[in-house]
Amino acid sequence: MRLLSYFRGEAFQRGVHPPQCKLTARTKIRRLPFPPRVIVPLSQHIGKPPRPIVRVGEEVVRGQPIAKADDWLSVPHHAPVTGVVEFIGLRPGMRGPWVESIVIRAHPGATQEDLWGQPRDLSNASAQDLLQAIWDTGMVGLGGAAFPTHAKLTVPSQAKVHTLVVNGCECEPYLTCDHRVMVEQADDLVEGIRYAMRATGAQRAIVGIEDNKPDAADAIRAALARRGPLPEGEIHAELVPTKYPQGSEKMLIMALFGVEIPAGGLPVSLGMVVNNVGTLAALGQLLPRGRGLTERVVTITGPGVARPGDYIVPLGTPLRFILDYAGAPEAQAKEVILGGPMMGQAAASLDVPVTKGISGVVVLRGEDIALGADRKIYPCIKCAECVESCPMGLNPSMLGMLAAKREYDLMGEQYHLGECFECGCCSYVCPSNIPLVQQFRVAKQILREKAAAAKSS
């Protein structure tokens, strides 16, 4: 509750307003050429990695399944290019450690047309069949969390879903892929929303869009007007005040409906399912054609990129190839962020491929970083900026001091560490430059390990 927030009418309490830097909000989505080699890590999502079903030396066609879901919380992968499987084994992963991957050498002469998928009519499919079809596309949440979409759309037996919330906030600075998808692929998005509504049984869908992209809402409304009344129910596009982290599902639901999801609960406990616009637009494209997810829209941007833009990138394209194409002189690039600059992960190597959950590649130069992370770390002066910006209503100042003293149990029990979703607001505002989020991540990991140890013993 800041002095002016009374009069401004903000959607959810606290949060921050980082500079938006949406360099690519007006450029059309372009296609990236196919790289000579793609690297498909098996684990690209939350849950169990799938099992490879191709052998080294086997020829694969673009869109052909190359890995099979091994568990309910697992999705298949499809070959992003036509070519030959060159290698199955460890390759650099985005988190640092090498991960099990399938490397495919692209066939230089192939047209790279997706010939595998068979068009099909899903207009009368049951919810069960739709979920199976979604599972077969290998779709995961394209917003960044990479949670398998079929699992997200599966409504537990005791619950009833009445509303599908479509997340078009894109509150991260720099990223514009969802924005461009909403503007250019509004028809696919509406199609995808209809599938998701049928899969969940929702009677209405509300697309929440931050008010810095009114053109996206206009495009969706125009697509809806072209479509006329829908048998599934009503779809609305709604603008919400721009603020970070609006893209968190809890914050978006707060902004749209004014309810707090109870701590530890999921949106489904209030009868809602939240999905990203990118995910649903991709579903709208893939499902009727019977294809698998082989490419996604990625924002390649940042001060270190000569030709920033939103590109359709084949999954598994190495960062080095992308940056060469978009024009990022390697001498300038100091930090390459996968995802947005607030929650994204710094790439450990340029040989890391683009995976399903990467929505952006932000390249920062030395001088952009110097503004932030190189600054001196002071002791906490208890300025309360973090308390005023934590969207979850925690006390990061206290948590940070406890973390420095390694009082992890106290953090979890009394100061609600488990509620933190690492949005980065506290570290962003901290005038003492204390790496709060990093401390919390470590603390959560240690608490998880402790809990696992207690369970197993």
């Binding site: 699992a151 309810v259 340029l350």
Partner: protein
């Protein structure tokens, strides 16, 4: 080529500790300027000497490594300026230097430097001066004396370790009575004379011995609050609670107690509320705690002023509240998102864009019980999942 790995967030708000401190110093410049305009050369020398003493002490302790931070962060400048503003303008300079040393050494360096101090360092220095030099600190020189820019008040220039000369003969020379050298609070407490509004607010009329101008402090403070360099809740709570208590007592017996306006604008209450109580390290971080902390200061100030032997109570009130800060924080932790009473009831806040439940769904269905972990307890068996629906 090398790329660096850093942890998220990769961008940073421009504000840093030196920025905050520098802004507070800039906002104090008009207050100090008017203080010098009121009291002349003595006030200027006092500001300079006390601040220099604070900076030198800070430097000493940073050098020896007993204290975090460094003198580039401007926090010692704030301590020095605030300490000088809270002392009488003609306070002997050597005593000011000692108070500045004690402020940083005992108030700050002892507990580890910036961010670790328990008490506001400027007030620690002032409390020390009050205890060590009771006579000098009770002697206030009148404002707007003719010739204040060309000569020092004699007490300023006392030799080190010497008591200052008595001001009475010097005042008599200028045809001023002894009352001119007492603050409005002391005059009310010991003589029963109540100062008027215009004297308190600007001190432009007559030779009143008031401190830095409250109006100017409020103005500079509201700039800081607007830019969010200090939290508006603390001054609001202090002034509200002090005003309310004073008004209550005034209503009970108007002849015994002064009016609430006099209470708020006399002495150091405004300076304390805006600049001293809002010291970040010694005030609570929780919003509710700030209200409680401010209310405590206001209440204690009025009680000390009315019932103790001292004319002024702001300093002790703030120091006591500083001591209570960790406890206040502990009992006023913020409620996390999703744990409020509204969230437990599943109620919506007013003013939402959409009703939670579409009209055509009955409430019973919408409130169907759901398990917490839906993917563990409710996971369908693989063979069930693969089976096509028989009904269709």
């Amino acid at each position: 080529m090398t790329i660096e790995i850093r942890s998220a967030p990769h961008i940073k708000a421009p504000r840093s500790v030196p920025t905050i401190m520098r802004h507070v110093v800039w906002s104090l410049v008009p207050v100090c300027a008017f203080f010098v305009y009121q009291y002349g050369l003595s006030a200027l020398a006092s500001l300079l000497v006390v601040t220099a003493s604070c900076l030198a002490t800070e430097r000493l302790f940073v050098r020896t490594g007993t204290q975090a931070g460094d003198i580039g962060d401007f926090s010692a400048v704030i301590t020095g300026l605030l300490l000088a503003l809270s002392l009488p303008p003609a306070f002997p300079l050597w005593m000011g230097a000692v108070a500045g040393f004690v402020a940083i050494a005992l108030g700050k360096a002892l507990t580890g430097g910036i961010g670790f101090n328990v008490f506001n360092p400027a007030l620690v220095g002032r409390a020390f001066a009050q205890a060590a030099f009771p006579q000098a600190i009770a002697t206030y020189s009148p404002s707007f004396l003719p010739g204040r820019f060309t000569e020092f008040v004699p007490s300023s220039l006392a030799w080190p370790l010497m008591q200052p000369a008595d001001l009475m003969p010097w005042l008599k020379e200028r045809q001023l009575d002894a009352l001119a050298a007492a603050t409005p609070l002391a005059k009310w407490k010991f003589e029963g004379v109540l100062a008027g509004a215009e004297e308190l607010l600007t001190s432009l009329s007559g030779h009143m011995a008031v401190g830095p101008s409250p109006l100017l402090i409020l103005l500079c403070g509201s700039y800081l609050a607007f830019r969010r360099f200090l939290d508006w809740r603390i001054p609001a709570a202090i002034l509200g609670s002090a005003g309310l208590t004073a008004w209550l007592l005034f209503a009970l017996s108007p002849e015994r107690f002064p009016n609430p306006f006099f209470m708020l604008f006399s002495g150091g209450l405004i300076l304390g509320a805006v600049y001293m109580a809002t010291d970040m390290a010694t005030s609570p971080v929780t919003p509710k705690g700030m209200w409680l902390y401010g209310a405590l200061i206001g209440l204690l100030t009025v009680i000390i002023r009315y019932y103790s032997g001292l004319p002024e109570g702001v300093m002790y009130a703030i120091l006591l509240a500083n001591a209570a800060t960790p406890l206040i924080e502990k009992v006023t932790q913020p409620t996390p998102f999703g744990k409020s009473a509204l969230a437990r009831l599943g109620q919506a806040k007013r003013g939402a864009s959409y009703p939670l439940h579409p009209g055509y769904i009955s409430r019973e269905e919408a409130h169907a019980v759901t398990p917490k972990k839906r993917f563990l307890r409710n996971k369908p068996k693989p063979e069930e999942r693969r089976k096509p629906e028989k009904s269709s």
